[in-house]
C-alpha cells in the first residue's frame, strides 16, 4: 500500500516539475537582448505549427526578428533543455552507481576523453560530417567512449569492478588524457584557442541541427536509464546484498555506465564541457525528493533542464550586448543555493 502511495506522489512531483519546465521555456524564450515583444515570440512559434500556423498574422514581425526568435533563441533554449537534462541524469545515476557524492558526469574521464577527441578533430581539420554531426562532435563522442572503456578495463578486477578502483582509474586516465590534450595544444598552438573555447562550453549559435539530430537518441537513452533506477536503489544497499536479491550487479554497472557515457558524450560533443550542473543538481534534487532513484533520476533531468535554461538566459542577457560564459553562471547560482539547502537540510543527508 505504502509503495503505491509513493508512486502516485512521484507522479505528482513529476507533473509539477514538468509544468515548471514548460513555464520556464515559455518565459525564457520571450527574454532576450533583442527588443521583441513576448507576443511576437509566441506568434512566430505558433506560425510554425502546421494547421494553426496559417491563421496567425506575422506580417508585422520583421524578418530579422523572425530570424532571432526562430534561428537563434528557440534552438538555444531547447538545447539548454536537453543538455541540462542529460548532464543531470547521468550525474545522478553515476552518484548512485558509484556511491560517491563527488561523482559527476565527467568523473570517468569522459570530459578528458571528449576534449582529446575534439582536439584531434580540430587539429586534423576533420570537418567531414556524418548524419549531421560534425567531425568534432563525432571525435569527442568516440574519445569519451574510449576513455570510459579504458577506465572500466583498468578498474576491473577479473569479473567485477570495485567502485574505488573504478574511480581511481577514472582520475588517472582523466589526468593522462588531459596531459595529452595539453601537449597537443602546445605543439599545435595555432589551434589552441579553438580547443580552449570548445572545452569552456557554450550553447550559443548552434541552430537547430544539434537538436534535430540529437534529441531522439538522447531522450531514448534517458528513458532506458530510468529502467535501471530500481537496480541502482538496490545496489546502494551494498553490492553483496544486491547480488543476493538477484540483481546482476556487474551487468547493471556496465549498462548504466554505457548509457551515462552515451548521454554525457552526446551533450558534451555539442555544448562543450559545462561544469557544475551534473554535480550539484542531483544533490539539490536528492535533498528535495529523497534518495529513491525512481524519482531522483527523472526529477534530476527536469530540474537540470530548468536550471540550464535559466542560467543560460542570464548568461545571454545580463550584460547585453555581451555574454558571460554559462559555466560561470551555473556556479554562481548553483553554489550558494546548494550551500543554503545543505545548511537547512543537513540532517536529510
Amino acid at each position: 500500500m505504502k509503495g503505491k502511495v509513493r508512486i502516485k506522489s512521484y507522479g505528482f512531483t513529476m507533473l509539477i516539475l514538468f509544468i515548471l519546465l514548460i513555464l520556464m521555456i515559455g518565459t525564457t524564450s520571450t527574454i532576450g537582448s533583442a527588443s521583441i515583444s513576448p507576443i511576437d515570440v509566441y506568434k512566430v512559434v505558433v506560425s510554425k505549427i502546421p494547421v494553426v500556423g496559417g491563421l496567425i498574422d506575422i506580417d508585422s514581425i520583421t524578418s530579422s526578428q523572425h530570424s532571432i526568435i526562430w534561428s537563434v533563441r528557440l534552438p538555444r533554449v531547447l538545447l539548454g533543455v536537453i543538455v541540462g537534462a542529460g548532464l543531470s541524469i547521468s550525474g545522478a545515476s553515476f552518484q548512485g552507481l558509484l556511491k560517491n557524492p563527488m561523482a559527476d558526469p565527467y568523473i570517468l574521464g569522459i570530459s578528458s576523453g571528449a576534449a582529446l577527441g575534439a582536439a584531434i578533430a580540430i587539429i586534423m581539420k576533420l570537418e567531414a560530417a556524418f548524419m549531421g554531426f560534425s567531425g568534432i562532435s563525432i571525435m569527442a563522442f568516440i574519445g569519451a567512449l574510449i576513455a570510459v572503456t579504458l577506465v572500466y578495463n583498468i578498474g576491473r578486477i577479473r569479473s567485477h569492478v570495485p567502485v574505488t578502483t573504478l574511480l581511481l582509474a577514472g582520475v588517472a586516465v582523466g589526468q593522462f588524457l588531459t596531459a595529452i590534450t595539453s601537449l597537443l595544444m602546445v605543439i599545435y598552438n595555432r589551434d589552441m584557442t579553438k580547443i580552449i573555447y570548445w572545452t569552456l562550453g557554450s550553447l550559443a549559435g548552434k541552430g537547430w541541427n544539434p537538436i534535430t539530430t540529437m534529441s531522439i537518441p538522447l531522450i531514448a537513452a534517458m528513458g532506458i536509464l530510468l529502467f535501471f533506477s530500481r537496480d541502482i536503489n538496490i545496489m546502494l544497499t551494498g553490492e553483496e546484498s544486491a547480488k543476493s536479491l538477484g540483481v546482476n550487479v556487474e551487468r547493471i554497472k556496465v549498462y548504466v555506465l554505457l548509457l551515462g557515457t552515451f548521454i554525457t558524450s552526446m551533450a558534451v560533443s555539442v555544448s562543450g564541457i559545462i561544469g557544475f550542473v551534473g554535480l550539484i543538481i542531483p544533490h539539490i534534487v536528492r535533498l528535495i525528493v529523497g534518495p529513491d532513484h525512481r524519482i531522483l533520476l527523472p526529477a534530476s533531468a527536469i530540474v537540470g533542464s530548468i536550471f540550464m535554461v535559466f542560467t543560460d538566459t542570464i548568461a545571454r542577457t545580463v550584460i547585453s550586448p555581451m555574454e558571460i560564459p554559462v559555466g560561470i553562471i551555473t556556479a554562481i547560482f548553483g553554489g550558494p543555493f546548494f550551500i543554503y539547502l545543505l545548511r537547512s537540510k543537513k540532517k536529510a543527508l
Binding site: S67, V72, T199
Partner: protein
Amino acid sequence: MYFTKIAHLLMGFNYEKKERFIVKKGIVLLLIMMFAVGLLAGCSTEPETVEPEEQQEQEEVSEGNVDEIMDDFGNTITFENPPERIISLAPSNTEILFAIGAGDKVVGVTSYDDYPEEVLDIEKIGDFNGINLERIIELEPDLVINYGDGVTEENERLLEAGIQIAGFEPESIEEITDTILRIGEITGHKQEALDLVDEMLAQEAELVEKVQGLEKKTVFYEIWHEPLMAAGPGSFIDQLISLAGGENVAKDADGDYPQFDLEQLIERNPEVYLTANDLPEKTVESIKERPGFSEIDAIKNDRIYLIDGNIISRPGPRIIQALEMIVEAIHPEVKN
C-alpha cells in the same frame, strides 16, 4: 575542473586579454584596496629602508648622463651604448625593430614571428604559451622586449641576469607610433623611427581623407565565432573601423574583446562583416551558413571580408596596411 585549469594556464597572454572584460571594476578596486591595506599594515616600518635605495638609483642615472626611456609599465631602460643583442617576444615588436633598421640586432623571436622574411632564420625562443628562459639568458641579450608586462617571475630572473626588459602594449595608432619612437630611442635608431612614424601618419591621413564625407557604414568585426566575440571599444580594431569611415556596432560593449550576443548582432544588422582569415575553415561560405546570419544585411549583400590576420592583429608598423584593407572593405568605391 582540472582540464580547464591547465587550459587557462596555457592560454597565457591571449587568455588574459580575452578575460579582461569579465573582471569587473569593482573586483579590481576591492583588490587594490586590499592590497593598499596590506601595504599599510605590513610595511609601516619599511619606507625608511626603501627610500635611500631609490635615491641612490636616481643619482646613478643622473651621473651617467645616458638616455633613459620609460616603457609602458614603469621600467626605465638605460643604455650607454645601444643594445647589441635584442630578444623580441612579440611579432609586432619584431616588425617594429626591423622597420627601423634594428633587425640585425635581433637574436631571438617567438614561433609566431614571420615578417619580414629574415626573422624565419632567427632562433625561436618561445611563444605566447611561455618562453624558454634558460635559452634566453644563454643568448646573452642586452634587452628583452615584451608585449605587455610579461611574467613577473620571468622578468625578475632576466633582471637578475643583468638583462634589461621593456614592455609595450599599444592599443591605438598613437600608442603604436609612440612605441616605435621609444624603441627607436632605446636601440639608437631614433631618426629611422621618426621617419617611419612620419610615413605612417602621412599614409593614415591620406586614407582618412579618402573616406571623408562618405556615408558611414555599420560594421561588425568578429574576433572569434565560438563563442561570438567582437572587437570592442577598447581595441585598436575599433579605432581602425572609425578611421575607415565605419561605425562599430559593438561600440557600446565593455572591454577590448567582449563575447557578443548573437541576437544583438542580428538586431543591429551591420552593413559590413569583417573578420581575420585566421582559420582555414573560416570562409565567406561558412559564415553565411551560420544559424540566424541569413537576415543580416552584410550577409545578404555579400559584404563579408576576410582580412589578413597576421597584419590586423599586430600593433606594429603594418597597422596602416590594416587600415587600408578595412577602408577598402567598408568603402570599396575609394579603390579606384
